[in-house]
Amino acid sequence: MSAVQEKLTGLLVSQLGVPAAKIEPGITYKDLALDSLALIELTMLINRELGGALDDDVLQGETTIADTVELIESQGVRA
């Protein structure tokens, strides 16, 4: 697991109460039962805690954990 994925998992578990066991690269936010407000909260957390610069509308229900890690890493963040 990359450092970014580890940190993203940490945010999902500690801040949004997502069960750790459900988090794997291919799962979507819809499957994790995160609605649009939760995804903006997650975006804010990623930007604040990981130094990302994601726009509020980037994370969608169909976005996966792997997609998110790629997005964050594409911004040069290595956590």
Binding site: Q15, L16, G17, V18, P19, A33, L37, A38, I40, E41, M44, N47, R48, D56
Partner: protein, 410 residues
């Protein structure tokens, strides 16, 4: 013996989350012990008033699920937990009830002050994009009713009553009317408040409402005592399940007590000071007694608003003496619980119902020397066993809101 009026409603479930305990039984036992819950509050450290009556050991994540808890301000969390307790206590099941016939009326005054304060700090210190998208849905006061309705699948009317410290009592009065009118078959009614935040406590301190007894917080909430100097802010939630008595008895429900009368009035005198004549409170109390068909000489017990502020207690004491005489055993449970603002009326309605059920009047904590201006039979020291048939709970709020409820033993 006072017969319940045809407009009575039955209390079939009680849920409490207070500084005195995480459920109704624990809260009641602590209140009957007469030991104050006021204590230094780490979240208020460094402020001129740094103590409160906080709900101890409330684990929202464990109780509501971690994926749910973070989306709710604390006042909503407290209410949902109290509502679940009340529904279970009533022997009702949200999975099987007709939710279209269930209403939720919850008193709240200050909304999600913790959320507002935290997010405003982020807004000022960081950037607009650091503000949570949940700020509004967490902070809005109505969300306590909306989320409780979601949790228990109640599809009938749901709303918040906002009349400061009379909110919880007014919620119960409004709920009674929804049952009386046939709009609902079951109503969850009560109040919730969680405003022990630095900004709110500072505001209450600046207006001179709070006790400043920092050296001895446990002695700070002392209703009717000559040395009282203000109230101790508390948090908590109280939710009652109310039904028409005939419905409750038809399904074999256990009834704590009946709400047999409700009266509500306004001082229209001053924003925060009570009308010293007590005329507004007297109107609410007399209206509630008339509504109940109860004589002023029939009240056995009063759970008074009794905030421990110099102004409230003397004004309220005079009205109670003037209207009810010297007969009732009076208590203020705020000596133990502190003042949970909009939740207070609901929490005290629950304690009044429990007093009727158990035939026990809890003592007024810290009342060691009665204010000579107050001439009432106030229970002090230890809880008093008594045969109780009719009881009254009073609530008065900033804004001049007055409410009184009359209860009868089941």
């Amino acid at each position: 013996m006072t017969l319940p009026s045809k407009g009575a409603v039955a209390i079939t479930g009680v849920g409490l989350v207070t500084a005195a305990g995480l459920d109704a039984r624990t809260s009641w036992e602590r209140v009957c012990s007469g030991r104050s819950t006021a204590a230094p509050d780490p979240e208020l450290a460094g402020l001129p008033v740094d103590f409160s009556c906080r709900v101890p050991g409330f684990d929202a994540g464990a109780l509501l699920g971690p994926g749910n808890a973070w989306r709710l301000d604390r006042f909503t969390q407290l209410a949902i937990v109290a509502a679940r307790q009340a529904v279970a206590d009533a022997g009702l099941d949200p999975e099987s009830w007709d939710g279209t016939r269930v209403g939720v009326i919850v008193g709240n005054s200050l909304g999600g002050t913790g959320t507002w304060e935290q997010q405003h700090r982020r807004f000022l210190e960081d950037a607009p994009k650091s503000v949570s998208p949940l700020m509004i849905p967490m902070g809005m006061s109505n969300m306590v009713a909306g989320h409780t309705a979601i949790d228990v699948k109640a599809f009938g009317p749901s709303m918040v009553t906002a009349s400061a410290c009379a909110s919880g009592s007014n919620a119960i009065g409004l709920a009674r009317d929804l049952l009386r009118s046939g709009t609902c078959d079951v109503v969850l009614a009560g109040g919730a408040e969680a405003a022990l935040t630095p900004g709110t406590i500072t505001g209450l301190t600046r207006m001179g409402g709070l006790s400043g007894r920092r050296e001895d917080p446990g002695a700070a909430s002392r209703p009717f005592d000559v040395a009282r100097d203000g109230f101790v802010a508390a948090e908590g939630a109280g939710i009652l399940v109310l039904e028409r008595p005939e419905d409750a008895r038809a399904r074999g429900a256990s009834v704590y007590a009946d709400v047999i009368g409700f009266g509500s009035s306004t001082d229209a005198y001053h924003a925060t000071a009570p009308d010293p004549s007590g005329a507004g409170m007297e109107r609410a109390l007399r209206a509630a007694l008339a509504d109940a068909g109860t004589g002023t000489d029939e009240v056995d017990h009063v759970n008074a608003h009794g905030t421990s502020t110099p102004l409230n207690d003397v004004t309220e004491g005079r009205v109670l003496r003037r209207v009810l005489g010297e007969r009732p055993l009076v208590t203020s449970t705020k000596g133990v619980t502190g003042h949970a603002l909009a939740a207070a009326g609901a929490i005290e309605a629950a304690f009044t119902a429990l007093a009727l059920r158990h035939g026990v009047v809890p003592p007024t904590a810290n009342l060691t020397e009665l204010d000579p201006e107050i001439d009432l039979d106030i229970t002090t020291g230890t809880a008093a066993k008594a045969h109780l048939e009719v009881a009254v709970s009073t609530s008065l709020g900033f804004g001049g809101h007055n409410a009184a409820l009359v209860f009868a033993a089941a």
